[in-house]
């Protein structure tokens, strides 16, 4: 949703800077004054740029790909079977990328391997391309209902070019009721 606005903004900005370059006479200052930002809100999402010392908690995922080489297109399939085609980039965290685009995936512990709410199911061929889950991730996956052989925690899946076209499916529910593994009947 932000994409169309971003393109408009970029175009406006480009036009604006072109004007600036062409003729920096007094006459043109008037046209500078008439430059309008398409929507303040769109820019506001990018105000929180990186702090010195690295990005945290989804900030990296808020940045757009720097070039086509960086792009990784994936598809999220939500609980209502709706497909969301998303343009991510190399290094994006699948959970935070979903957050950026308002896809309904929780992330209660903020990627610290203390919950299973970002549980996703991947296609076999893409699952095999990822490195093995750590013991901690497996421990958390144990608690996730509707677990499959190709389940992962979304916060542990980092995009690479190899994952281009991957379908990330959200399981029906993301938390377990019973510690002994019993899964309740869906209502």
């Amino acid at each position: 949703m932000a994409a169309p606005m971003r393109r408009v903004a970029c175009r406006s900005f480009l036009a604006f800077s072109l004007r600036l370059h062409q003729n920096t006479t007094f006459k043109n200052f008037k046209s500078l004054a008439s430059f309008k930002l398409p929507s303040a809100t769109n820019f506001c999402r990018r105000i929180h740029v990186s702090k010195a010392g690295g990005l945290k908690n989804g900030e990296f995922e808020m940045q757009d790909p720097k070039s086509e080489d960086d792009v990784v297109n994936i598809v999220y399939i939500d609980r209502d079977d709706v497909r969301h085609e998303i343009k991510g980039k190399v290094g994006d965290n699948v959970m935070y990328l979903a957050h950026r685009y308002d896809i309904d995936i929780e992330g209660a512990c903020e990627a610290s391997l203390a919950c299973c709410t970002c549980h996703v199911v991947l296609p076999d061929n893409f699952y095999d391309k990822l490195s093995e889950p750590t013991e901690e991730e497996e421990d958390m996956l144990d608690l996730a209902p509707f677990l499959t052989a190709t389940s992962r925690l979304g916060c542990q899946v980092i995009l690479t070019k190899e994952l281009e076209g991957m379908e990330v499916r959200l399981p029906q529910a993301t938390r377990n009721f019973y510690v002994d593994g019993h899964v309740p009947e869906p209502h």
Binding site: M1, A2, P4, M5, S39, A40, T41, N42, C44, R45, I47, H48, V49, K51, G53, K56, N57, G58, E59, M62, H99, R100, D102, E106, A108, C109, E110, S112, L113, A114, C115, C116, T117, E135, E136, E138, D139, M140, D142, L143, L147, A173, T174, R175, N176, F177, Y178, V179, D180, G181, H187
Partner: protein
Amino acid sequence: MSPKKTRVLTITVHNNVSTKFASVMHKSLHKCQWRKPTGHVRFLSSQQDSSFRVCVVGSGPAGFYTAQSLLKNNPNVTVDILEKLPVPFGLVRYGVAPDHPEVKNVVNQFTNLAQSGRCNFLGNINIGTDVTVKELLNGYSAVVLAYGAASDRRLDIPGEDSEGVISARNFVGWYNGLPQDSELKPNLNTDTAVVIGQGNVALDVARILLTPIEILQKTDISENAISALRRSKVKQVYLVGRRGPLEVSFTIKELREMVKLPGTKPILDRSDFEGIDKLIPGLPRGRKRLIELLYKTALQSSNSQDERLETSQAAWGLKFLRSPLEIIQDQVDQQVKGVRFAVNTLQSQDGQTTAVPTGEEEFMECGLVLKSVGYKSIRLDPIVPFDHMKGIIRNTKGKVDGIQGLYCSGWVKRGAVGVILSSLNDSIETAKTISEDFTTGHIQHNNEGKDYLMKLLNNRGVKTVTFTDWLNIDEEERQRGQLQSKPREKISDITEMLKIAFRPQHEK
């Protein structure tokens, strides 16, 4: 910049956690805005122009997740979250162990919600003494009871209420700085403690008793607890369960933590695990890895019958097939001497495994007994239909039986089982039930909500704590914590909390 963002700026800057600033802003944007079809993004109007005002009783995970779900799906709803204490977050603050800070990250999400404009936190309000459920039903379109479990399941055995027998719930409250448990004085002057129960709370309690002090003192553990633990003589902790290894209630992460606990070793009786290895392959994934780890640990551990423990080394053990019959006190000084157990055998019936006494008994010597057999909810208000056996409010998918406009969420709805995330799913169900009732007109709307409540409370002299007031407490705790290299030093006195909450700005 909208006023909302300015507010976020002033709150987070002085917290010295500037990395959170960006994520807080991003998150409040992420959570608050909704999109119109044209692609324009509009912030929430600051005008409280809603027709449905909902009141949630309890500010723990169930309360906040219910609020979150309601707000996400209903643009014309506002939610007031009431809390008995001056501080929010319930068991996230007072239940999660101090050495599990990452589990508490969910607080950030709740903080964003409380500052999002359609959600108001109101602390220091006691249902029963300050306002009744009936009055809340008058003022709000819907009232959601999400007040958790403030009591324990009982063993109902002789000696249960003697000195030296403590509920694990109180012990957890004590090391987490809960005001009502701050004066607990567990007897740590003994070398053996017995915990009755084999769930995650039992493991937490054992772990806190045995973790080296150098590790604990860097957490947000309460001052009372850390100074008592420094003088603790407890060296062995046994978790005793009435059934077998296949029926343990704790989960693998916590077990693994225990197995790797520095300076300690596990004591497991290998005979308890005979035949278990053959059953492991048939177990569902969730249980399989847990039992595998237990079995592996049992094979590698010392057997209390074969080897003597070195007296200097701390140890934790699991004892199975034991049900407590009586807690024995010393005749002279009334101190706990030990526990008399019935020895059980297992019986399978209708897919359930139950413990059946064999007639044999066993005595375990110890100086401290911790009961960890489950939390239990209490009935907060006489008009609420309550199932005393199960300790839950009578409800159907979150709608309280027989009372229009009343709902429930969390442990008080399902029973006191499950981690924070179980409350998430549960809250979504309750919110869905409420949303459906909004649409079908089964709920009145245009109730006065907060205005009505505040008028009532002002007349009664009740001073409510807002979320901004809580942030004063939060900042004070962090600052005090910094002096001790802890993430925070929790304030466990309510009067002091209120004093800091209402401190005038210029004093900061």
